[in-house]
Amino acid sequence: MRIWVFIVILACGPGTLVAAPPTASPRDIAFFETRIRPVLLRRCFDCHGPDTENEAGLKLDSLAAMLTGGRSGPAIKPGDPDNSLLVLAVRHDPAMPDMPPKTKLPLREVADLAEWIRRGAHWPGQKPTRVRARPTADPDAFPYNKASRDHWAFQPPTAAALPAVSLRNRGTIRSPIDHFLLSRLETARLEPAPETDRRTLVRRATLDLHGLPPTPRQVRRFLADTRPGAFARLVDRLLASPRYGQRQGRLWLDVVRYADSNGMDDNLYYADAWRYRDWVIERFNADWPFDRFLVDQIAGDLLPGVPGEPVSEAYARVIATGFLTLGPKMLAEDDPTKQQMDIVDDQIDTLGRATLGLTLGCARCHDHKFDPVPTSDYYALAGIFKSTQVMLSFRVDSKWNARALGPASLEQKLSQLEGTIDRLDRILVLGNRQDMSASQRQTYTEELEAARTAYRAIPKAMAVNDGDGSDLEIFLRGNHLTRGPRVPRRFPRIAAGFDQQPLKGPGSGRLELARWVASDRNPLAARVLVNRIWQAHFGHGLVRSPDNFGRLGQRPDNQPLLDWLAVRFVADGFSIKQLHRRIMGCRAYRMSTIAAPGTRQRASQLDPDNRLLWKMNRRRMHAEVLRDSLLALAGQLDETMGGQPIDARAFDNLSSGTPRSKIDFDVSRRSVYLPVLRSAVYEVFGAFDFPDPAVPSGRRDETIVAPQALFLMNGKLVTESTRAMATGLQALPTDALRLSLAYRQVLGREPRDDERTTWTEFLDGFDDPLSAWQSVCRVLVSSNEFVYIE
C-alpha cells in the first residue's frame, strides 16, 4: 500500500513522475477493455476525447491525461476512488459538476469506474509517464495592473494643508473641517446653508449621540447657556453619559453582525454573546482607543496582561474575541471541512468589511475581480483563522467554543463539561435509537441536562482559543476537494506590502495580524472608522460605501478631508470621543437641512446627492431610536444596563419549544439590550430596516413601506406609550398647556398659532379627553417632523 500513497502524493505536484501500476493482470486488462474503455468512449469522449476542447481543460483519453487532469486538478487518484474527482463527478456528488450533465450513468458503470480506480487504474499499453501537471495558481503571482494597485485607498493618508477660503466665508468658519468643505463649495459657486436654530441643534446632537430626543429640560438648559462654548459643553455632557455607548456601540454591533443566535438552520442560543455586546458599549463609554479596541477583538486572548491590572481586564480581552466567533454558523452541516471553511470565511469577510473596507470574501473562489486581492492572499489569511479554535468539533451537532472567566480550575471544569455535553449529545442525536433502551436514554438525558445546567452556571464568554499555526492550500474555486498550492500565512499584500515575512511562529499569527490592522502602517482602518463616525453625524460617509473602499466602492466625496481626519484621529491617540467633538465642532454640522436662499435650485441640479454638503442631510430615525424614544416619551424607558437577553441555556433552540416562549420583546429596556435573533428579527425592527445580522452592515437602509405606517397606527408599543403620554398630560389644567408640553416633549418646540387652531378643532371631535389626547400624541409621533432628524 505504501507505494500507492507515494504515487498519490506525487500526482498532486507539478511535473511529477508517475509510476505505472506494478503489473496489470490479465483480469485487469479484461476489466478495462470490457467495462471501462467502452464507457469512456461512449459517455465521456464527446467532450473529453482526444479531439475535443472543453471549458474544464480535461481530457480522459489516456492515463497521463487523467493524472494530469483539468482545471480542478488530477481526475483520478489511483487506489482512492472516493477522492477521485472523476468518480465524484459521475456519482453526481454536490462538490463536483454533475457528469454527464443532467443524466446519470447507470449504477453499474459508476461502480465499475470506482472499482477500476480502486484496483490501481491499470490502462493496458500505457507505461510510466512523465506528467506535467497543469500550471496552478502561483502563490507569489499578483495578477493586477497598476491602476488597481494605485487605487486611492491603498495609499497612506496624508494631512494636506488647509485649503484657502474666500474672505467672505472666512468669518463663518468654526473648525479646519470647514476649510475643506467651503473651498469645494466655493469652487462650485454654491452657498452653504445657514446655521440652524439652537433647538434643532440640541435635538440633532442628542439624537446622534444618545439615540433619544432631548427632554424639555435638556433643551431649556442648552438654550439658557448663552456663554461662548455652549455647544461644546453640550457635546461633552452627551459624551459623558452612558447612553452614548449604547447608541454608538449599537452601530458598531451592526458592523460586526452581532446576534444572540446562530441563524442559518436551527436557531441555537448564543447564551454568552451578550458579554461582547456589553463590552462594546462599555469601551465606547470609556473612550477606549480604537487601535486597542481592534486588537482586543482580533486577538485579545493573546495579549499579555499589564502588571497590576484588575483581573477583569484579562477577562475583557477574552470577551472581545467574540468578534470572531459570534457570526452566523450552519451548525447542522454534514460536511465538516465546508463547515469550518464557512466559519473562516465569515471571519475574513467581517474583518475585511468592518476594519479594512474591503470585500475580501470575494477572493475565496477566485482572484478578486476588481480589487488587488488574489486567492493566495485570501488563503494566507484563512490559514491564520483556520489555526484559531472557534468550535469544539465540526459535525452536524457541533458546539462552539467558550472560555471560562475565572481561575484555571474553572477553565478546567468548563472543558470537562464541554466534553460531557458533546459526548452525550452525540450519543443521543446520532445514536441509533433502536439500540438504546428507554432507561438508557433517560439516564443519558438526565446526565446531559445536569451537565448543561452546570455549564450554564459557569461565567464564560463566547471566545476563541489559539491553535497550532499551519498554512493552508488554495482551494480552487473555493472547493476543498480541489486543492492548489500551499500559501504562507501573511496579510493582504496590497495593504501590508510585498516584502512581508511569512508568519512562522507556533501560534496562528492572529496577534501579528491584529497589530498590523490597528497600526498606522495600515492605510485603511483609520479612514474606515473616521468615515463611519462621519456618517453617523451627516447621514452619509465621505465615502458613501462605508464597508467597501475598493474600486467598486464609491470614491470619497472629499478625500483631503477624509485623510486629514484620519491623520488627526491617529494623532489623537485613536480617541473616538475626540473625533465626535472634532466633527460636531465644525460649522457644517450646524447647517440647516434647508438650502441657503436662492441656491436650492442650482445646488439640486449641480449636486443632487449633496456630496458637497451645501446643506445638512435629513435622516430618518433608526428602528431602535424610534422605539427607545417612544418609551422615553411615555416615561417608561428602563435604563438598566447590560445582561443576558433571554433566560435560556446555551444551545437551546430558540425557534421551538420552551425557549421560544421566553423571548420577550415587550420589555422597556433600551433596544440595544433586546435579543437579536438571526432569521427572526423582532418585527418592529424588521419593519424599520434593522440590518440583517447575518452580514456586516455599515449602513442602514431608509425604506418607506406601509408596515411602518401600520405599526404607528396600530402597534402595541405605540398604543401603550401614547396612552401613557396622554395620561401624563391630563395632569395639566388646560388644553393649551397640554399641547405645549406635548410639542415640547415630542418635537422639542412650541406649537405655532395656526397649529393651535387646528388642534382645537381636532379635539372638538372627541368626547373622551384621554382618547383625544392619545390621538394627538399618536399623530405627533407619527409625523415626519418627529421621525426625521433635521
Partner: protein, 471 residues
C-alpha cells in the same frame, strides 16, 4: 445593467409599499411614463418581451411541504425497492449523509400505487384526491439539490443558495413584475415556519424591502388566526381617518417650510396605503363569505383538513386579488420514523385542500393564469432509518406543477430503480426556478440586481429552462 433605484423607479417602489404597486411593473413600463423616467430604461428591467415566449402565468401559488415528503411513497413508485425490501443498498451511499450511523437496509413503500387519469401517472394511495386531478399535473420525478439538511435545503429552494442570504423566488418575482393590487403586498406567505432559515426564506435580502414576503401568521399559528403584523386597527375608523388627516396636514405644512422632499412625500402617502391595506385585508381574510360548498371543497368543514384548507382558500383569495406570489406551508413532513402513519396523516391533511384548490381555480377560470407548485426541500432515502422511517435525500425527489403554461399530464425525469438518485433528465432547483420565471415571462439570465459590485440573479450562474415542462 445596474438598477439604481432612483427617480420614478424609487417612487414606484415606495408606492409599492408593502408591495402595493400602483401598477404592475410591466404595465408601468409599457405606458408613457417610461419616456419621462430618468435613470432607468426599459432595457435594464426584465420584461415580458425579454423572454422568447409571452408570460403564461401571472401568479404563483406555492404549496410548500416543509420537512421533505417522501417521493417514493407519493409519486415515484419503486417496485424493485419493494421486491428487495430488507436487503442492503447495492451501491455506494452519498459521500455526505444526514445521519450516517442510522442508515439501515432497503425498505419498500408500505403504500399501494395505482395509475390514474388519461396520463396514467402513478400516485400513492395516500393522495386519492390529488390522484383524481392527476391529468392537471406536470410531475417532475428527477428533482435534486445539494444540501442534505433542512436549513440548507430549505434555503436552496427558496433563495437558490445555502451559503449566503439572498432574495427569495417570490421577492424576485415581485421585483420583476410588481404587483397587481396596490392595497395588498405582492408576496404573502401563510403560516411559514420560523425555523430552518426563518425569514431568510422569504426576505428581499438586497432587493428593495417592498419585495419581501409579508408573513401571515407563522408556523404553529392556526390558519384561522393568521394575520398580517399590526393590521388590527387600534382605533375606530373615524378616529384613524382624522388622525391620518392631521398627519397629512402636519406633513404638508412641514413641506412648505422645507421645500419638496421625496422621502417626506412618500412617507405621507405610505399612511394612506396602510389605511387601505388595513381595510382590504379583513375582506380577503373573510372565508365565511365563501359558500358552504366552496368551504367543503377545501375540506374546511373537516378537522383533519381544516387548517391547510383555510390556507389554500386564502391563497386563492389573495391570488385572485392580484397578489403575485402566495405560499401555503404544511409543516411536518420529516418522517425519520413511523413513516407509514405519519405520512398517511400528513397526506390526509393536504390532499383534499390541494385538489379543492385546483378544481376551484379551474372553475373560476384562474387555473389558466395561476401556476401552482407542490414540493418540499428534498425527498427521502430508500433505506430505512430507525426501522420504519426514512432519512433526508437531496439526490432525487419529486415536485409537481399545475396550471398556467405547464404541460399537464406529464411525468418527467426518473430516479434509479430504488429512488435514491435522479438519473434521467435531472432537474435542479435552479432549473425549476428558471422554468418558473420563464412561465412568468421572465428570462432568468436577465433578471438581475446589482449589489456589492456585481449583478446577482436568482439562479446565479446556473439553471436551464426545462422546455419539456412547458406547454
Amino acid at each position: 445593467m445596474m438598477h439604481e433605484v432612483t427617480g420614478h423607479r424609487r417612487q414606484f417602489l415606495s408606492e409599492l409599499g408593502a408591495g402595493f404597486g400602483s401598477l404592475a411593473l410591466a404595465g408601468l413600463l409599457s405606458d408613457e411614463t417610461v419616456a419621462a423616467e430618468p435613470g432607468s430604461t426599459r432595457d435594464d428591467l426584465l420584461l415580458p418581451n425579454a423572454s422568447p415566449r409571452p408570460a403564461r402565468a401571472k401568479r404563483v401559488i406555492m404549496l410548500f411541504m416543509f420537512g421533505g415528503p417522501s417521493h417514493i411513497d407519493s409519486f415515484d413508485p419503486k417496485p424493485r425497492l419493494v421486491a428487495e425490501h430488507g436487503q442492503p443498498l447495492p451501491f455506494a451511499k452519498p459521500r455526505v449523509l444526514s445521519f450516517p450511523l442510522r442508515h439501515g437496509n432497503l425498505v419498500g413503500s408500505p403504500f399501494g400505487f395505482r395509475r390514474h387519469g388519461e396520463s396514467g401517472a402513478a400516485v400513492s394511495e395516500v393522495f386519492p384526491e390529488v390522484a383524481s386531478r392527476v391529468d392537471d399535473l406536470c410531475i417532475v420525478n428527477s428533482m435534486h439539490c445539494t444540501n442534505p439538511r433542512h436549513g440548507g435545503a430549505v434555503l436552496e429552494w427558496h433563495t437558490g443558495t445555502d451559503t449566503f442570504i439572498r432574495p427569495s423566488l417570490g421577492s424576485w418575482l415581485v421585483y420583476g413584475l410588481g404587483t397587481e393590487n396596490r392595497n395588498l403586498p405582492g408576496y404573502v406567505t401563510i403560516c411559514q415556519a420560523l425555523s430552518q432559515g426563518g425569514s431568510n426564506n422569504f426576505s428581499s435580502a438586497f432587493l428593495p424591502a417592498a419585495c419581501g414576503g409579508t408573513p401571515l401568521g407563522r408556523g404553529g399559528t392556526p390558519a384561522s388566526r393568521a394575520k398580517f403584523p399590526f393590521i388590527k386597527p387600534a382605533a375606530s375608523r373615524d378616529v384613524q381617518q382624522r388622525e391620518l388627516e392631521m398627519i397629512r396636514r402636519m406633513g404638508l405644512k412641514q413641506l412648505e417650510l422645507t421645500g419638496s422632499d421625496q422621502a417626506l412625500e412618500d412617507r405621507i402617502a405610505s399612511f394612506e396605503l396602510a389605511f387601505r391595506m388595513q381595510a382590504a385585508a379583513p375582506e380577503v381574510q373573510a372565508l365565511e363569505t365563501e359558500s358552504r360548498a366552496t368551504q367543503a371543497l377545501y375540506g374546511i368543514d373537516e378537522k383533519a383538513t381544516e387548517d391547510f384548507g383555510r390556507q389554500c382558500l386564502l391563497a386563492r383569495r389573495y391570488s385572485e386579488r392580484g397578489v403575485r406570489f402566495v405560499q401555503c406551508n404544511s409543516n411536518g413532513w420529516d418522517h425519520h420514523s413511523g413513516l407509514e402513519s405519519s405520512m398517511r396523516q400528513m397526506a390526509r391533511s393536504v390532499d383534499k385542500p390541494i385538489a379543492g384548490l385546483l378544481s376551484d381555480l379551474e372553475s373560476r377560470g384562474l387555473l389558466d393564469e395561476t401556476l401552482v407548485v407542490w414540493g418540499g426541500e428534498f425527498g427521502r432515502t430508500p433505506t430505512a432509518e430507525n426501522g420504519n422511517g426514512r432519512d433526508h435525500n437531496p439526490h432525487g425527489f419529486t415536485m409537481w406543477m399545475a396550471g398556467a403554461g405547464i404541460r399537464p399530464g406529464l411525468v418527467y425525469g426518473r430516479t434509479d430503480e430504488y429512488g435514491y438518485y435522479a438519473v434521467e433528465d435531472k432537474v435542479h432547483f435552479h432549473d425549476l426556478h428558471a422554468t418558473i420565471l420563464h412561465l412568468m415571462g421572465i428570462d432568468h439570465t436577465r433578471l438581475t440586481f446589482r449589489y456589492s459590485g456585481r449583478d446577482f440573479r436568482l439562479t446565479d450562474v446556473h439553471g436551464d429552462v426545462v422546455d419539456d415542462l412547458v406547454a
